[in-house]
Amino acid sequence: MVEPATTATTVTTAMVTAAGVDAGAVDVRGAGGVDRGGRGGRGSVTVRERLRPYRAVLASRARSQTSYRTNFALDLLSSLLSAVVELAEVWVIFHATSGLGGLEFRQMLLVFGLADLAFSLADLVFGHCDRLPTYLRAGTFDVFYLRPQPLLAQLVTSELSLRRLARAAVGVAALSAGVVVCDVPWGPGSVLLLVTALLSGCAMFAAMFVWAGGLQFFLLDGREMTNAFVYGGRYAATQPASVWSRPLVVLFGFFFPMAFTGYLPTLALLGLPGPGWLPSWLGWCGPLAAGWTWAMALLCWRWGVRHYQGGGG
């Protein structure tokens, strides 16, 4: 019997690989990965075995998205366009003035590049977490309880927004341009700083999505409230924090440490002084900020789940 699905799968596998997702690691044709860990008891389950269900779901989501080609292309285009517009907003302000908050536009490219790239990557994997109310209303969340995996892990891997990759492209372009145009003192130190900042930034934005998701158990229809801090946070992260008032410094400098995703690392990288409460050496403290944000996010998630279940757990 001819299997039309196989042809479609082959085509979309190619597209998925092109989009950067490792479809090869996933059993596309059901031949099965070699079962190293076996089922000889919980202790001897390998990491690969552990990840298998998540890879399976993610790969299927990737396939499903790329299979609607026109829509996917449109999504990519619109993501690209919206990131370009956001950069343009920053540029317009700097075009009208000579500098802002002690930075010139070329230095802002670094801030924007780091922050927006980190956000795009986090959005790629975690962006749908605040769409929890949809799952709750449809009852899909209850189905997560029936599977032997953590609830949050299932929520996170239930979707993959491949179109965010286009957005990430803008971040990469801005970051690269900034690195070239500014006189960045090159060396292992600066590379380490950039990598640390990027990874911490991704972690922080990811935590913001999880935090928003956990609150949805309580808010249900109040998604705009968490949007204020998730997308407001993204907006804040691409600003020079030196223009902030004290309350804003507390809110987006420390509580939701958005300043640590792009602005502070840029200051540290370029050796510039920081404003009031945000000295430039904090640019190295991205991991700390990420840890704090994740602790808050997991707490909110736990609260939310307990509320949904009615206690316990």
């Binding site: 059993d27 099965g32 209850d142 189905v143 032997p148 279940q309 757990g313």
Partner: protein
């Protein structure tokens, strides 16, 4: 009738065998129950305009279901069935009382429990909506950590038994209801759970699909000794699949026993409908029967009788003595009617009525 607590096959992943040799199912060293609810209660706070009320969805359920049993769980909409299932699966935390599923605490040991139970929610799908059916099975095999070969074999087995081959490549959202239900049940059975809970699986299905589904479930139970808990409004499902019936009404257990006992204990009447050869005057003088009504000048008459005091045969015999009967049918009491009567009968005291027996054994001894 219906051996409880007997042998279980260890067909599911990693479950301990529950045999202890006793076949009568009562007393002795109790084999670990698949479902063990003691005083299970769940209340919700409901916002009613400005005030907050406490709504009791499930009230003091005490039920013990042994391995291998097939239990029907019936009750009106909103009576508490879904809430009970959610507590069994670990989705809701009980307000008071305890519940153990497969010997585990559902909320605390949810992930371990998920490997041993399968649940089919009527309204919610556990398949991936926009993917082909086969992909869903593949993903679920990975989720339940089935070795590749075993997963393929099991999937093939289910596909064959449920005749799903024709739509394996179709996206789930394009399936008909019957096809979808078959796929859902296969999905729930993929990892060979010890317990399968079905929430209204045959609703909306045509007669043929229902029958095939029932036959599949019977065969599956016979082969693997899976325990079955079935929520349904369809008495046909109960009659063909279940040996034991639980009736829940407004959160309380109104009956726990077998099906014949159910109608009997509720005191609900069966109805004999006779078609007579010629128009006859109302048959009001039949002993132990109550005349309900006549149609077509007495050509068709309805007589209600209590199954406890007399039989359809006796009433029919009495009628044939008076008039010529051309045809007849016997109508069973409507389940909603039965439940309502049952609850009215038990209103003063909570818990099952005296007519049914302790939870473990099936039905009263009376014929």
């Amino acid at each position: 009738m219906g051996s409880m607590g007997g042998s279980t096959r260890a067909g599911a992943g990693g479950s301990e065998p529950a045999t202890d040799g006793t076949d009568d199912g009562t007393g002795g060293a109790d084999p670990p129950a698949i479902i063990d609810m003691v005083g299970l209660t769940r209340q919700f706070g409901v916002r009613d305009g400005m005030r907050r009320r406490r709504l009791t969805a499930v009230d003091g359920l005490t039920v013990r279901i042994g391995a291998g049993e097939a239990v029907g769980y019936i009750g009106a909409n909103g009576a508490g069935k879904s809430t009970t299932i959610k507590m069994l699966a670990g989705i809701l935390v009980p307000t008071s009382g305890t519940v153990h599923t497969c010997g585990l605490r559902p909320v605390k040991d949810r992930r371990r429990l998920a490997r041993q139970i399968g649940v089919v929610f009527g309204q919610r799908s556990q398949l991936w909506w926009d993917l082909p059916v086969r992909d869903s099975f593949r993903i679920l095999a990975a989720i339940h950590a089935l070795p590749a070969a075993a997963g393929r074999a099991r999937t093939g087995e289910l596909v064959e038994q449920l005749e799903m081959g024709e739509f394996l490549a179709t996206p789930v959202r394009q399936l008909s209801l019957g096809q979808r239900m078959r796929a859902e049940i296969a999905a729930a059975l993929l990892h060979r759970p010890r317990l399968i809970i079905l929430d209204e699986p045959t609703i909306g299905l045509d007669v043929l699909s229902k029958q095939r589904l029932r036959e599949f479930l019977i065969a599956e139970r016979a082969a693997h000794g899976t325990t079955l808990l079935l929520t349904t409004h369809d008495m046909g499902d109960i009659e063909r699949l279940c040996e034991r019936v639980l009736v829940i009404d407004q959160g309380r257990l109104a009956y726990d026993g077998d099906l014949p006992g159910l109608a009997g204990s509720a005191g609900a009447d069966r109805v004999l409908v006779v078609d007579l050869a010629a128009p006859t005057v109302d048959l009001t003088a039949i002993p132990a029967a109550r005349h309900l009504g006549s149609e077509a000048h007495g050509l068709r008459q309805r007589l209600a009788f209590d199954a406890e005091t007399t039989t359809a045969a006796r009433v029919l015999a009495a009628v044939t003595g008076i008039a010529d009967v051309v045809d007849f049918t016997v109508e069973e009491p409507d389940i909603e009617d039965v439940v309502r009567r049952l609850y009215a009968a038990t209103r003063p005291s909570p818990g099952p009525p005296v007519a049914s027996v302790e939870p473990v054994v099936s039905g009263p001894d009376a014929p």
